[in-house]
């Protein structure tokens, strides 16, 4: 019964609920001719008896199973037989469900299950009628049955109507009158494009009196690119598409090319079998194209994590399970999730079969940890010809710089002043590590960016720049990952120069060195920085604050902070507690040779370089140096000399530094370009498949029997020659003999138009799912779909061309009781539009909509703090930064989807979070929705733009203008009484805003677009408020 409950109706009170429970009951008993096991009996058994008498062997009691044909006639442990055809009195099943003794009566009280007297009676009657067993309907392949003859022949537009009218006829009902033309064009435009018709389109349709007028509209809409956008939205809910990883950090990830692929596939009317194959196994198709690989991103839509401490094996099991469940829901309409831990209680699906299906996904090549990366592999890069041209230009530039370098080198005459110099200095030398710029490889970080200042901007000690930091509390800048490391020897000292602003003294200054960890700290002043504790190497107090107003050299014995001989440093942090602090050059005093020291003598440099364990000198140069001087060939000599002159010798180095910098700049641009090329997550399998095991109770570390790739036995076997991978799985799904795939798909299409599927539980076609309201119609549509070559647009057109679809959606009074949810289809569909459609329509009718297709997700208006309230510090989606300009006004399909905090303008209208597969949205009616439509900036701005449009295009009088706006939202003209209400409200608002012009100005300032200053503010504000009213009308937010 629950399935009949319309969620939104629930709030209308218990009386209404009671009424339609009775109504629903009357459908079930309407067909008295013959009891159908599958429709009438199995749901009762499955709900009440299968737990102990079903598929699950371990739970089975008394030797009785009621889920297979043989179970009914088999001899039970007691010797009795459950069902003796035609003889209810001899049938143990009937005896026990009607038993007077509570100890004997089934189901037992302890089970919490109970049959109603009607249900027990029905079972008895079924046995009396012969007790015929049928396999659950959805596992039997559909037949393309002949549409039934009906008496209301004039109402038939296509075969869909035969099926619907036959059912209505048996209930003594008929179709409603056709919807008027205005309602119809609005309905079909919404259904095929997700946007309303323009007044001009409505007028054109009204003016076209040819019999094909409607079909022409339908064909036009099916060709519109908006069609693909609208259809994709439903699909993206199902595949759980999002723009973030979904777990833990919830960083951005790049999968939008897949989203764009889906849109294009719908617009190109890609046959649904191909559509399916490319998504499930695009990467495995022989010679697969870039597009097909991108399509396989379908398999990468699952949520992923990189949470520290996770156990990889467990995470991989979750990914494969999620993918298997999603595939089952979308293509099979089966709740395979139930079989992760045990055999299915209701459907003939075993746990082992789950893991056989899971085995298709168990060898996925993506890692357990996504690395919080934008593009965790495997990925594809979408390199365009423009990108190629840019790369070529960079390469040409590099060649030019190299030529110039060679020319400069050729000009130099160098004579070594001291060819026999000793390799290292006997005295410790000061070596500067960082002075005016970032070190190679070092990542400059901090709680706010590094601020380099010049002598004009403040005190500088050495070179041309110092760094400055002003802070209110603990603050720091630091780097790690320097490739030019600092090598610590025995007795070394570390140093840095600091200048404290006497007018803004810090409490503390602190230096920290990184040798892989940060636990080496020295501080001056108070103990006000909470890094480290006690008198340890991670927390050394060096003394009072250095003298302010002058540069002071800070020096620390390396050993004092735990940096002993052999330590290699890659990072340094400058911290302070409050105040304004300047830092300048820092380094080491050491006997140990350091990377990048200056040498006048090439021989001295070579000897020095030879003893370094690691160095930033390129490997080919290092290799050449290691060869004895006498044994070097000309090329080796040149390599060494050229490097020395370019990078070491102080007299020539500056010339080449400039060239090197040019080269580095070009290479950086090249890398940036490479990084800017869009990527999309794709699917791939590991070269060697993982072994798959049944997991006991679904636990990743409790392996049961080994299983191989396979499909549930109740369904057809894998086609012969199907490869044992996802490609084989796709072949199996799209085999014309598959009983579920086409049915499940056309049912979802039907649901888009009528608000509910022929099978209401679109996600469950198993025995616990709802019985189809029109089983023969479902089968006819499914087979029609297959026979048409899986032609998606063909099915859409069939549905909207049917008389059933074109009926008026008015609810006749008696039908509110008899068929409140419109299960019988005696009227057209009427229900609230989805959040995306509402937002897009407001943008559209106000003229704000920017119809640019595709690309990275955009960030339109969103109330402040939605992301920040939940986000992980450091996440790439921690802080919401709204876009500017046209990105605000794109279709909602392109809104950036952060899965741990999805857009409230959509979730308020029942959009799912996209963390898990959803094929059927709820449809609630709440005060939060009312608040959103009244007050959300996006809708207020749209109201103002609609008001400007009224005043510019709508005519001269208020009445004309109000009618114009009304038409943009509802397609029709208001009736006289309605127009009178609009005018009355307008005049009240006008009087109020004339009395309070500043209020009018404030209202008109809402939104990023500027108001039309030529229009009178009070008048425009009054129209804005009426537009706000019109955008909130029940009719505006409803498809009628």
């Amino acid at each position: 019964m629950r399935c009949l409950l319309n969620l939104s109706l629930r709030s209308t009170g218990a009386a209404a609920v009671g009424l339609f429970l009775i109504a629903a009951g009357s459908f079930a008993s309407a067909d008295e001719k013959k009891i159908d096991f599958s429709r009438d009996i199995r749901p009762i058994l499955s709900n009440n008896c299968f737990k102990c008498h079903g598929f699950d062997e371990k739970q089975r009691q008394g030797g009785l199973r009621l889920d297979v044909k043989d179970g009914f006639g088999a001899k039970l442990e007691s010797g009795a037989i459950a069902v003796v055809p035609g003889k209810p009195d001899e049938s143990e099943l009937v005896k026990r469900i009607l038993h007077a003794d509570p100890a004997e009566k089934m189901p037992p009280e302890a089970s919490g299950k109970k049959l109603t007297p009607e249900q027990a009676e029905l079972i008895k009657k079924w046995v009396a009628q012969g007790g015929e067993y049928k396999t659950h309907w959805s596992f039997i392949p559909p037949v393309h049955g002949a549409p039934p003859e009906v008496t209301a022949k004039e109402a038939v537009r296509n075969p869909i109507d035969n099926f619907v009218l036959a059912r209505l006829q048996s209930e003594g009902l008929k179709h409603s009158a056709p919807a008027d033309k205005v309602t119809l064009i609005r309905r079909v435009t919404y259904d095929l494009t997700g946007l309303p018709p323009t007044p001009a389109e409505v007028d054109a349709f009204l003016a076209d009196n040819t019999p094909e007028a409607y079909e022409k509209v339908v064909d036009r809409l099916l060709k519109s690119p908006r069609y693909g956008e609208h259809m994709s939205r439903y699909w993206l809910d199902a595949v759980r598409y999002g723009d973030t990883h979904g777990l833990h950090f919830d960083n951005e990830r790049s999968l939008w090319p897949y989203r764009d692929w889906v849109i294009k596939a719908f617009n190109d009317n890609k046959p649904f079998d191909q559509f399916t194959t490319e998504q499930v196994a695009g990467d495995l198709l022989p010679g697969s194209t870039l597009e097909q690989k991108i399509a396989s991103g379908f398999n990468r839509c699952n949520v992923s994590t990189s949470e520290g401490g996770s156990i990889n094996e467990e995470v991989l099991v979750r990914y494969a399970t999620d993918r298997t469940e999603t595939l089952s829901t979308i293509f099979l309409g089966l709740t395979m999730g139930c079989t992760v831990c045990h055999d299915h209680k209701f459907d003939p699906l075993t746990q082992k079969e789950f893991y056989s299906l899971y085995a298709f996904y168990n060898s996925a090549a993506d890692a357990a940890m996504d690395g919080n990366a934008l593009s965790p592999p495997p990925i594809m890069k979408l390199k365009s010809s423009e990108h190629e041209a840019q790369f070529k230009a960079f390469d040409d530039e590099i060649a030019r710089v190299n030529e110039q370098t060679a020319a400069e080198l050729a000009k130099i005459v160098y004579v070594d002043p001291n060819p026999y110099a000793p390799p290292t200095s006997p005295e410790p030398q000061e070596f500067v590590w960082i002075d005016d710029d970032a070190l190679a490889g070092a990542k400059l970080e901090g709680d706010s960016p590094w601020e380099f200042i010049t002598k004009e901007q403040g005190p500088v000690f050495s070179g041309s720049k110092a760094t400055k930091r002003k802070a209110a509390a603990t603050s720091q800048h630091f780097f790690t990952g320097a490739t030019k490391t600092l090598k610590v020897g025995g007795g070394d000292k570390l140093f840095a120069y600091v200048y404290l602003d006497p007018a803004d003294l810090p409490k503390t200054v602190m230096l920290q060195w990184n040798d892989g960890a940060w636990e080496h700290r020295a501080f001056w002043g108070e103990d006000a920085i909470a890094f480290g504790s006690g008198d340890t190497v991670g927390h050394r107090k060096m003394g009072p604050l250095p003298k302010a107003g002058e540069w002071v050299r800070l020096e620390v014995d390396a050993a004092h902070v735990g940096l002993n001989a052999g330590a290699v440093l890659n990072g340094l942090a400058f911290s302070q507690s409050g105040g304004t602090v300047y830092w300048d050059k820092a380094g080491i005093i050491s006997k140990t040779p350091q990377d990048g020291q200056a040498f006048e003598s090439q021989a001295a440099w070579e000897s020095f370089e030879k003893v370094l364990e690691k160095s930033s000198v390129p490997q080919n140069v290092r290799d050449a140096i290691k060869i004895e001087v006498a044994k070097r060939d000309d090329n080796q000599k040149k390599v060494i000399r050229d490097y020395f002159l370019q990078s070491v010798y102080p007299k020539t180095k500056p010339t080449f530094d400039t060239l090197q910098k040019q080269l580095a700049d070009i290479n950086k641009k090249k890398t940036d370009l490479d990084n800017a090329i869009p990527t999309s997550l794709v699917m791939a399998d590991m070269p060697t498949p993982r072994e798959t095991f049944l997991l006991i109770r679904g636990a990743y570390d409790k392996k049961g029997d080994k299983v191989s790739i396979g499909v549930p036995a109740i369904l057809p076997p894998l086609p012969k020659n199907a490869p044992p991978n996802r490609l084989g799985l796709a072949k199996w799904l799209t085999d014309p003999g598959h009983p579920l795939m086409a049915r499940v798909t056309v049912n979802r299409f039907w649901q888009q138009y009528f608000g509910q599927g022929i099978v209401k539980t679109a996600e469950d076609f198993g025995s616990q799912g709802s019985w189809p309201t029109h089983p023969e119609l479902l089968d006819w549509l499914a087979t029609e779909f297959i026979q048409s070559g899986w032609n998606v647009k063909h099915i859409q057109k069939l549905i909207v061309m049917s008389g059933t679809y074109q009926q008026s959606s008015r609810v006749p009074p008696e039908m509110t009781q008899r068929d409140p949810t419109n299960e019988l289809l005696a009227r057209g569909p009427r229900f609230r539009l989805d959040g995306e459609v509402l937002r897009d329509s407001a943008l559209f009718s106000s003229g704000l909509l920017v119809e640019k297709m595709g690309g990275r997700g955009v960030r339109p208006y969103q109330p402040e703090g939605i992301w920040e309230a939940v986000s992980f510090l450091g996440s790439s989606t921690q802080i919401f930064k709204q876009d500017a300009g046209e990105s605000i006004y794109r279709r909602s399909l392109y809104t950036f989807w952060k899965r741990t905090a999805p857009p409230p303008s959509l979730t308020t209208f029942d959009a799912p979070s996209r963390e898990a597969c959803v094929v059927r949205r709820g449809r609630t009616n709440t005060p939060l929705q009312a608040l959103l439509l009244m007050n959300d900036k996006q809708y207020v701005e749209a109201a103002r733009k609609l008001a400007e449009r009224m005043m510019a295009e709508g005519g001269a009088t208020p009445a004309e203008r109000l009618t114009y706006a009304f038409r943009w939202s509802t397609a029709r003209k208001p009736t006289d009484p309605e127009a009178a209400v609009l005018l009355k409200i307008f005049q009240t608002h006008l009087a109020d805003y004339q009395a309070d012009k500043p209020a009018a100005e404030k209202l008109l300032a809402v939104g990023d677009t500027k108001r039309n200053e030529k229009l009178d503010a009070s008048e425009l504000a009054a129209y804005t408020m009426v537009a706000n009213l019109i955008l909130n009308l029940d009719e505006t937010v409803t498809k009628e």
Partner: protein, 493 residues
């Protein structure tokens, strides 16, 4: 009478009723209560029936409830039970000694510490004192909670299945580690509904992180409705901007202007309803009226200016600063007063993998006085008896140090095997310590309470049998506790 007309009439009545109530101001709080409460008055004269009345999907409660509402002070990121509640004096002898293998028993640990060569025991640096008539040991970090020891039950034996934040917090909130299930507040809203039609049944409050703290993320799924209708999802009251999303009229639109617009809207929608006959239109009219009433009732709720100083003092100095945990605790009481069923106050920042002593010293004071203040405030109003308050997070922390251990510094990794929560009011015993752990706070030695048991117990206090509150989805009757959970009778009155 035609039921549609009938329905419309009733909606119109409510429509006027709502407008009148607004005029009466805050004194009319009672009249804003769910009409379903009054509607049934004449039908059920029996007070026992009255006690069992449900306003949600359940027709009647499964048993008489002890709690009418729940406030969960949710300590996200997992506070250390070893430094707050679980007193382990013997641990001092084990300082820097490896956790005996006989205790650890090869249990799985996170990959953050599984690479450590040693697992040195880190006794707490904090002093513990005995509080209350039963002498419960509570850390010096929680002196105010110590002062209410006689009002609370401390459960030292809570345990969970998950070892990392995201799955563990999802697990305790929804009964499953995998996203997609309804949260406990959503189940409550669905099952027993709300007594106040002008406020959501389930409200979530986020506390600002204390300066200098860092924390894990939260996820909207933690208060989401999963497969239940979205009207049951938690509504996050925000501390800056609109307390409820989109509550305020846009600039330049005052209450009168909004009323004018809504009058026109109601008139046109009513005409359309008569024309089209869809009862859904009447529901929509009613929802717009409720939205209008919320525009008054929610700001009134968030306005604490009329609270007496003596009450504010209970919550500590931060109470006047919106967004602090102290402010949120006071707001939780105000929500409870107005009949909100389930309030969840999140406090993040307990993820002390390193330098735990100095970090917890900063965070605990933000938490201690407001938590205790809430209990005292509820008690002085006589509301503690039917309000269940819960304090705790998603798991505990390890006895062994993560990273370097010194006498006064250590870190602690995730520990799912046991941790401590406390509860008060709403049917829970006052002045009790339940469950025990070994000398290392590593294993439970007495009366384990699994997260499913805890959730079953909370529902039980509300008059709900956790095995019977179900929702059919994907062919299965789902419930908060999956197929697990036992009510912890020992802690109940």
């Amino acid at each position: 009478m035609n039921p549609v007309q009938n329905h419309m009439l009733s909606e119109t009545r409510r429509y006027f009723f709502g407008r009148m109530a607004k005029g009466l101001g805050a004194a009319a709080l009672g009249s804003l209560l769910n009409p379903k409460l009054f509607a049934a008055d004449s039908a059920s004269a029996n007070p026992a029936d009255e006690a069992l009345k449900s306003l949600g999907q359940m027709q009647i409660l499964h048993h008489a409830p002890k709690a009418k509402r729940v406030i969960w002070l949710f300590m996200a990121d997992a506070p250390s039970q070893l430094d707050l509640w679980d007193y382990k004096p013997k641990l001092q002898e084990f300082y820097d000694k490896d956790l005996p293998e006989s205790v650890r028993q090869g249990q799985r640990i996170t990959t953050m510490t599984s690479g450590q060569t040693r697992f040195p025991c880190a006794p707490s640096v904090f002093k513990f004192n005995q509080h209350g008539k039963h002498g419960a040991w509570i850390s010096e970090l929680m002196p105010n909670v110590g002062s209410i020891a006689d009002d609370i039950t401390i459960v030292k034996s809570v345990n969970t299945d998950a070892i990392n934040h995201d799955p563990a917090i999802t697990f305790i909130q929804t009964g499953s580690q995998i996203p997609g299930r309804p949260s406990m507040g959503a189940w409550t809203s669905y099952g027993i509904g709300s007594v106040n039609e002008n406020l959501p049944a389930f409200v979530v409050l986020h506390s600002r992180l204390p300066a200098g703290s860092s924390s894990q993320a939260l996820f909207s799924r933690l208060w989401g409705s999963g497969f239940l209708p979205t009207k049951h999802q938690g509504v996050a009251l925000r501390s800056s901007g609109d307390p409820v999303l989109f509550l305020s009229n846009p600039p330049g639109v005052n209450e009168k202007t909004r009323r004018t617009m809504l009058d026109g809207l109601a008139e046109l929608n009513t005409k359309r309803a008569a024309e089209v006959g869809d009862p859904e239109i009447n529901t929509r009219i009613a929802q717009y009226e409720m939205a209008f009433r919320m525009q008054t009732s929610v700001p009134e709720l968030a306005d604490i200016s009329k609270e007496p100083q003596s009450t504010l003092d209970l919550y500590g100095p931060q109470v006047k600063d919106p967004g602090t945990f102290a402010y949120n605790c006071l707001l939780a009481r105000r929500l409870a007063e107005r009949g909100v069923r389930f309030t969840q106050v999140f406090l993040r920042g307990w993820d002390h993998h390193n330098t735990l002593p100095s970090n917890i010293k900063k965070l605990a004071p933000e938490c201690d006085q407001p938590s205790a203040g809430l209990i005292k405030d509820l008690k002085q109003r006589g509301m503690l008896d039917d309000t269940l308050v819960i304090w705790g997070g998603e798991f505990g922390r390890t006895v062994y140090s993560q990273g370097t251990l010194t006498k006064d510094n250590y870190g602690r990794d995730h520990h799912p095997r046991n941790y401590t929560m406390w509860m008060a009011g709403g049917g829970v015993k006052a002045g009790l310590v339940h469950g025990e752990t070994d000398d290392f706070s590593y294993n439970i030695t007495d009366k384990p309470v699994h997260v499913h048991d805890l959730n079953a117990t909370i529902l039980h206090c509300l008059g709900v049998n956790h095995e019977k509150l179900t929702y059919a989805f994907q062919g299965r009757d789902f419930r908060l506790t999956d197929v697990h959970g036992n009510v912890v009778k020992d802690i109940l009155v």
